[in-house]
């Protein structure tokens, strides 16, 4: 495989049989020193072989070796003659991030940091075992999966403003619970409003630097303000949907005569029953994930009320935005001057629509869509804004996080979870975790510096830096 550098942070993989389009990778030169980068680049080339892929198989600067698509992969498939691939979305369908602002300042929170984090731990179930915060009666999970966050709004768990500030308004069109297996429903039934395990977290953060005052103001964000970031997905519900349809599509791809370089790239032509049903089930899993993060916001609001003795409205605990980073969406984009309907697969990539786009909430439309990029728990996270360049070059997409540097196993060998906890506490960060081991797996040294990733997307114009967020307290799954 040949790789050509076409810009300071842009690399191209020219078309070689059986690729249909070139690969394009936005990255810092240090990518080529990273373990597993050859496999990740091969995965970019593999995606370029899929039927109906338009223009290029793209990867973001946090690219790393995944399964099927690389993590950080973006590809648009023609809605008429392309394919849909569950491996281009991943097991954790609509894994995503939401950022919540408050009217509290660092000095208000510092004396109550420990009780606040303790209350978060009690209110937001974490780890892979416990029940979620919401109990559903027979038939209600199916409705939640079809209706998304509006289902919760009707029951007092979400406001109109929450809906406006969630990608897709918190409900993906085309959701049909009949396409979801009994097993997926069984797994999801008790998990709405739970953080999960792995790299999922809830962090209390402070805005420690604002780089674009006008945009920050539009997002309701200012220096010294305390915010909450929630990173979670569709839990067992989404994992089971992906498992079910990867299995079904292995056969569908073979029947359509599609040769797959990796079985995890299993896909089906857009007009096949397998594709239609997968998209209906995927939309359900997306709605489950939006609702899951919304329920956690509801719990967080309650925790603030308990610790500060005031209503959450008075404390200004409002949703800035909620973005998905594992999803396949029907979108209209300009291709060679013409509008084309495509299915944009984003796997470990965030939608980053630019100013003026009708899908950006009205109050943010002048500045562009908020993009939330979680970093590791010791350093920082970022708030960015979408751009016109992203619309032209990457189907309105940008990076999604820091990207791992060390495997979980290697991270455990560097330092124990107890040591990681002590180091974070020495830095003034309160840590709560269901699993001590998870702390070393998710330690700052296991991740690349998110600033390096953000600097690349800012430099190439795929998004614009707005504010830097520093952790005060971490709740780990």
């Amino acid at each position: 495989m040949r790789i050509e550098r076409t810009g300071e942070f842009v690399y191209e993989i020219p078309v070689e049989d059986p690729m249909r389009v070139p690969g394009r990778v936005y990255a810092h030169a240090s990518l080529f020193e990273q373990a597993g980068h050859e496999e990740a680049l091969q995965q970019v080339a593999n995606v370029a072989t899929l039927p109906g892929v338009v223009t290029a198989s793209i990867a973001m600067p946090d690219i790393h070796w995944g399964y099927g698509f690389p993590i950080g992969g973006v590809a648009a498939m023609d809605e008429a003659d392309g394919v849909v691939s569950p491996g281009g979305v991943g097991f954790d369908i609509n894994c995503g991030v939401r950022l919540v602002r408050t009217e509290l300042e660092l000095d208000d929170v510092r004396p109550r940091l420990e009780p606040l984090m303790h209350q978060f731990m009690r209110s937001v179930p974490q780890g892979s075992g416990p029940h979620g915060a919401l109990t559903l009666k027979e038939g209600e999970l199916e409705r939640l999966a079809e209706e998304g966050v509006p289902f919760l709004a009707a029951r007092g768990y979400a406001t109109e403003d929450d809906l406006l500030h969630t990608e897709e308004g918190g409900v993906m069109a085309g959701a049909d619970a009949a396409a979801v297996s009994r097993k997926a429903l069984d797994r999801g039934r008790t998990q709405v409003g739970s953080l999960g395990s792995g790299n999922h977290f809830l962090e209390l953060q402070v805005v420690d630097e604002v780089l674009d005052g006008e945009t920050a103001e539009a997002f309701g964000v200012r220096r010294g303000q305390v915010v909450v970031m929630i990173h979670s997905g569709s839990r067992g519900f989404g994992h089971q949907v992906c498992t079910d349809y990867v299995g079904r599509m292995a056969g569908a791809a073979a029947r359509a005569g599609i040769e797959l370089p990796d079985r995890q790239l299993a896909c089906a032509p857009m007009d096949s029953p397998e594709a239609r049903e997968y998209l209906a089930a995927m939309a359900c899993a997306c709605n489950f994930a939006f609702a899951n993060r919304q329920m956690m916001l509801h719990q967080v609001r309650g925790a603030f009320e308990q610790v500060f003795g005031q209503s959450w409205e008075r404390l200004g605990v409002e949703l800035v935005y909620d973005v998905a980073h594992n999803i396949a969406k029907r979108e209209v984009h300009a291709v060679d001057g013409e509008e084309r309907v495509v299915r944009v697969h984003r796997k470990g990539a965030t939608r980053a629509f630019g100013p003026g786009h009708p899908d950006v909430p009205e109050d943010y439309r002048v500045v562009g869509q908020p993009v939330i990029i979680p970093g590791d728990m010791g350093r920082e996270s970022w708030l960015l804004a979408g751009t016109e360049t992203a619309m032209r070059e990457t189907w309105g997409s940008t990076c999604h996080g820091a990207g791992r540097l060390l495997s979980r196993h290697a991270a455990r060998k560097v330092r124990s979870g107890a040591d990681v906890r002590r180091e974070l506490e020495d830095a003034g960060i309160v840590v709560k975790s269901a699993s001590v081991g998870a702390l070393s797996e998710e330690a700052p040294f296991a991740y690349k510096d998110v600033a390096d990733v953000v600097n690349v997307v800012d430099a190439v114009g795929l998004s614009r830096k707005v504010a830097r967020l520093r952790p005060l307290g971490v709740l780990k799954g």
Partner: protein, 139 residues
């Protein structure tokens, strides 16, 4: 051939390599390896057992399906599985009995957790002296 499993480094995920004299041994080891990443059993309380029957389009796909089935059992029956008895693995079908203690979130120590068994780099091979498999787990 001995019997066992090992976890293999992979940047974002975890590889599970399993081996044993029979294909059934390989499946049983895969179950143990998987649960080493999910939750450590305390070996207290009554074990609850259940019988499983699975089908897939090929034997290696059956290995991934088996692990995904065990994750399903963990999440829905809330059992920390510690005993895996695989009676028979055929080309497209397996029968097994698994057992575990009920999950007690106040006492059990959760490990990092596993989302799913993927098909990326999935392998199941017969050697002269036994069987070997590899599954990449999304964690």
């Amino acid at each position: 051939m001995s019997v066992g499993y090992e976890l293999v480094d992979h940047t974002a995920d975890i590889g599970l390599r399993v081996w044993g004299p029979t294909v059934e041994d390989v499946f049983e080891e895969a179950g143990r390896g998987l649960f080493s990443l999910v939750c450590d059993p305390l070996h207290v309380g009554e074990l609850e057992a259940l019988d499983l029957e699975l089908e897939a389009e090929a034997m290696d796909l059956l290995l991934a399906a088996w692990l995904n089935e065990l994750l399903y059992v963990f999440e829905t029956r809330r059992l920390v599985l510690s005993e895996f008895e695989v009676y028979e693995v055929q080309e497209r079908r397996l029968r097994a009995r698994v057992a575990g203690e009920p999950l007690d979130t106040r006492r059990h120590v959760m490990c990092g957790g596993v989302k799913a068994a993927t098909l990326h780099q999935l392998r199941l091979e017969r050697h002269d002296d036994g069987w070997e498999g590899f599954v990449l787990l999304d964690v």
